[in-house]
């Protein structure tokens, strides 16, 4: 089995190499990078903690709005805006986690839905702050760290977003390989047993929840800064479902799921939007049903199974 070290290195190398390999696709690349960051943060909850939630858009949206409002009213410097977005989302994570994490399964899912809908309503009603249904407009972003101004070709955007993703990935893999990460897997596999070995389950899950929220918030902040606009549907259940689907396409709890699933989903969506836009939901629905019954581990698991079979036949 190829060591994670090598694969991790390949991921980062891939991110670095894209602008040279496909310079015309930088806008698409930036969009994919931001969504990967969001899906990776969801992986921490769904894949590693075993907490299925349909409310992750709440943190993405809070981060986006926080960064946008920060740029409009405080400072147009993007790194400070990232901090604002991440911090706001982390606070949202603490508050909503306090309620959500007292339940599991259906109740947790319902509360996660309620959280997104609640925040969407608030964003809608506070039009003077958020732009309401029209979205937050007129965000003007300054140069990154005062040095790198965003250019028309999207180069700076991409390097900026990809660097954030690379750093976040290093944090993610560190978490996953740490004793904390292992204990999350333990909680996922048998929560009762974890309590019986002395694990403070609620505190662990709470910590993971806040970290995931902050990471999604940073993704949202990036989106707001790169697009210089925040749409109300960043805080939608539809978007939450989309991130979940992107993740499980690649495979949840398998380290690279976000990196495989997001590009696949975005490419499929682009293709189908051109060829057969009216039936997008039909195809995605059928794809989901297919994954559930035929390839539950997503792309990562499928690739793993294929490589094992190839190795076995060669041995």
């Amino acid at each position: 089995m190829t060591s994670p070290r090598v694969l991790d290195g390949l991921v980062i190398a891939g991110l670095a190499v894209l602008p040279f390999v496909a310079p015309g696709y930088l806008d698409l690349g930036t969009r994919i990078v931001i969504l990967i960051l969001c899906a990776m943060s969801l992986d921490l909850l769904v894949g590693y903690c075993g907490l299925v939630t349909l409310g992750h858009a709440a943190f993405f949206g809070v981060g986006a709005y926080a960064a946008g409002i920060f740029a409009l009213r405080a400072s147009a410097e993007p790194l400070a805006g990232l901090l604002a977005g991440g911090a706001a989302a982390a606070i949202a994570g603490v508050l909503s986690g306090a309620v959500l994490l007292r339940s599991r399964r259906l109740t947790l899912i319902m509360l996660s839905l309620a959280t997104v809908l609640l925040l969407q309503e608030i964003a809608n009603k506070l039009g003077w702050l958020t732009g309401g249904a029209d979205g937050l407009q007129g965000i003007a972003i300054g140069p990154v760290a005062g040095l790198f101004a965003f250019d028309l070709f999207g180069r700076v955007s991409y390097v900026y977003a990809a660097t954030v993703l690379a750093l976040a990935f290093l944090v993610f893999r560190s978490l996953v390989d740490s004793p904390f990460g292992h204990s999350l897997v333990g909680i996922r596999e048998n929560e009762g047993r974890m309590r019986a070995i002395g694990t403070p389950v609620d505190a662990r899950l709470g910590t993971a929840f806040v970290i995931a929220a902050a990471m999604a918030g940073v993704a949202g902040a990036l989106q707001a800064q790169v697009a210089e606009f925040v749409a109300l549907n960043a805080l939608s259940v539809e978007f939450s479902s989309e991130i979940l689907i992107m993740l499980i396409l690649g495979g949840a709890g398998r380290r690279y799921g976000a990196f495989l699933g997001v590009p696949l989903y975005v490419v499929m969506q682009d293709y189908l939007a051109r060829e057969d836009p009216a039936n997008w939901y039909l195809w995605i629905g059928l794809l989901l049903l297919g994954i559930v019954f035929l390839a539950p581990g997503g792309l990562v698991a499928w690739i793993g199974a294929v490589t094992r079979r190839v190795r076995a036949s060669r041995a």
Binding site: S174, P179, H182, G186, E189, R193, A196, I197, A203
Partner: protein
């Protein structure tokens, strides 16, 4: 006194499953808890380790009232238990199962970054425990693929990894093939003398070989307490375990 159970009762709705139970475990106790099925033995263990809250009464650990303390906190305070129905991390390997407990015991399970030295310490301790239970060869295998007897040993391994001051064993060898029963009780007999052990067991032979004291629980109440010999000679207990005791007696004589 390491563990004190004071007048503990547990009711589920209108059903009283544990009634006014009082018992102690001193340091180094070797106590067996016996009784017919449905007597409430596992419920009592659940009450002691905090999985259930008593309707009445107190639980004390080393003099401290822990009745309101959550399960995980009591484990940190020194209580370890095994489950009658195996409760393991089935998709993880044996080593990973034990490592989780070692990390919790070591206090670094909450660390957010990996550290090579910590990793090495955990691995060493896991290997040590595997050796104790002769499980070295099974270390890398996933628990769900292992035979039941080996799973019961992993169950015990996890409890041992916690280095508890009080160990509650809920039928540790139930359903285990004869060959492995020996290994399990070997390991139990080699546990630190200072550890207080409460053993739920149905096999009277085992009870008499292991226990210095026996508590008999019937229908949620303590029927009688005493040395194994006293219990064996007790009229009511004899009628409950008639067959087993007679066999044990004739073996002793013969």
């Amino acid at each position: 006194m390491t563990l004190e159970v004071r007048a503990v009762s547990k009711q589920f709705g209108s059903l009283e499953v544990i009634r006014d139970v009082t018992m102690q475990l001193e340091e180094g106790a070797r106590c067996a808890l016996i009784g017919p099925n449905g007597a409430g033995k596992t419920t009592l263990i659940n009450l002691i380790c905090g999985r259930l809250a008593p309707t009445r009464g107190e639980i004390r650990l080393a003099g401290r009232n822990v009745t309101a303390m959550a399960e995980a906190a009591r484990v940190k305070a020194g209580v370890g238990r095994t489950f009658q129905v195996t409760s393991l991390f089935r998709r993880l390997t044996v080593e990973e199962n034990i490592a989780l407990a070692v990390a919790e015991r070591g206090g670094f399970a909450g660390r957010l970054w990996p550290e090579r030295s910590v990793r090495a310490r955990v691995d060493d301790r896991v290997t040590q425990i595997l050796e104790t239970l002769r499980l070295r060869d099974e270390g890398r295998r996933r628990v769900e693929l292992l035979p039941y007897g080996i799973q019961r040993m992993v169950e015990l391994a996890i409890a041992l990894a916690l280095e508890p001051t009080i160990l509650l064993l809920d039928e540790p060898a139930a359903g285990v093939p004869a060959a492995e029963v020996g290994v399990i009780f070997d390991a139990i007999n080699r546990l630190p003398a200072s550890m207080a052990i409460l053993l739920i067991e149905h096999d009277i032979d085992v009870v008499f070989r292991f226990a210095r004291r026996v508590v008999v629980l019937v229908s949620g109440e303590i029927l009688v307490e005493g040395t194994p010999a006293e219990i064996r000679d007790h009229a009511q207990v004899r009628s409950l375990y008639l067959g087993d005791l007679s066999r044990a007696e004739s073996r002793d004589r013969g």
